[in-house]
Amino acid sequence: MLNWLKKLKFEKIVRGNLKNLMQLAYMKSKDRDLAEDLVQETCLKAYNAFLQLKPSEEIQNPKSWLFKILINTHIDYVRKKRFDTVEINSIDIEDKKDGISQIETSHFFKDLNGALNKLEPQYRVVIYLADVNQYSYIEISDMLGVSVSAVTSRLHRARQALRMLLTQSGYSQEYLSIGTKL
């Protein structure tokens, strides 16, 4: 296939998955600027890999493929200590959309944001993959390069930790008390 045709095909893949890539990167880094760098680097790596594909080869699941590259890119970043000095900032999504005011005014979203900030990146990612993208454990294990049992226990611990962090907030206590009453 001609390179420019491949470019068009790649562009279609990227455009269709860019938002998900950004979300995963954000869940990884919890920093918008770093997330953007990560996505940019991922796209570049994916692009080069895509151009190397033989005509007979095809990406079966472009989204998983891009996620896998992003996860590996993030690992590379961490190895290079590029993320070592990064502080976990409070959520900086104020500049994104007008609708963000809904999050700011929502008690639960404040709690959720605070809890996610405190959660380990690997927990945030596994929660994002399972809860938002609803990947199976096998798919997640493939993307993260860990065993299915590791995914299971990681998800369990992640949800336990998130639940604990949410429980500390007033909203969650209130919610739990409602749950108890039920």
Binding site: K7, V14, I93, K96, F108, V132, T152
Partner: protein, 256 residues
């Protein structure tokens, strides 16, 4: 089942990764235990809220621009799209002409006769006139009507017909079928045929194994008649109104 085990199961159950047997046991426990039920519901609630929360993380224009610039996508997009469209249009047009000229072989008369794909079934005089390239009037078809030929199929049933090939399938009350075909002007049958001059029009007619045929050129088309049971003379007699249009008289075709 104990609470500690149920807590282990809650996560897997949320992801539909728990076996049916364990799920049933866990659900039974959750329904009885308010603490586990609260955990389960909080997990569900968190999942729903998380999906909403993350939807606000979107791609900025800045990132989009950076990616396009890094990969040279934007240039390609605007530079190549019109080119691709133009190239595809030329290819399709070229292929269309090529296919029309080279690959569309003139079908055998009998194949046309038996091929429903070419059939145009209608008693719409205007439609027939347009297709025949003749200004047909209802009276021109009177011989067909007198011969008890009626359109085969539903009244006014129209179907799109091929640019070059059209077929009106008719049958009489005895079930005898005749195909009135409209073919390209330069159509020539490979079958051996006799010629008859009728009012300056050369009519080719002949017989093959199972059918009779007759064809002539009229305006910008070749009109052919094919039948399993009618002789060429019978067909030409029936086709008189079409051949002579308004110049038709009984004397003109009775001598054929």
């Amino acid at each position: 089942m104990k609470c500690a085990r149920v807590e282990l199961y809650i996560s897997a159950m949320l992801d539909n990764e728990l076996s049916l047997k364990d799920s049933i046991e866990a659900i039974e426990h959750i329904e009885r235990c308010s603490a586990c039920k609260a955990k389960w519901e909080l997990n569900e609630e968190t999942r729903a809220k998380l999906q909403y929360y993350i939807s606000f993380v979107d791609v900025s224009n800045n990132l989009q621009h950076k990616i396009n610039k890094t990969l040279g996508l934007s240039k390609q997009q605007y530079y190549f799209k019109p080119l691709i469209i133009a190239a595809c249009t030329i290819l399709i047009l070229g292929l269309g002409l090529f296919v029309n000229d080279v690959f569309i072989q003139i079908p055998h008369l009998y194949k046309i006769h038996n091929n429903i794909d070419f059939q145009l079934i209608s008693n719409d005089i205007e439609l027939l006139s347009n297709h025949a390239g003749a200004n047909l009037q209802k009276q021109h078809l009177s011989n067909f009507e007198l011969a008890m030929f009626t359109p085969h199929g539903a009244v006014n049933f129209k179907r799109p017909f091929n640019k070059n090939y059209g077929l009106i399938a008719l049958k009489n009350d005895k079930g005898q079928r005749i195909s009135l075909c409209f073919l390209p002007k330069d159509y020539k049958s490979t079958l051996q045929s006799n010629k008859h001059e009728i009012n300056g029009i050369t009519v080719h007619h002949g017989q093959d194994k199972n059918y009779h045929f007759a064809y002539w050129q009229q305006n910008d088309k070749t009109i052919a008649l094919i039948s399993d049971s009618l002789t060429p003379v019978e067909m030409i007699n029936l086709a008189g109104p079409l051949i002579y249009e308004r110049r038709y008289t009984n004397e003109n075709y009775e001598g054929v």
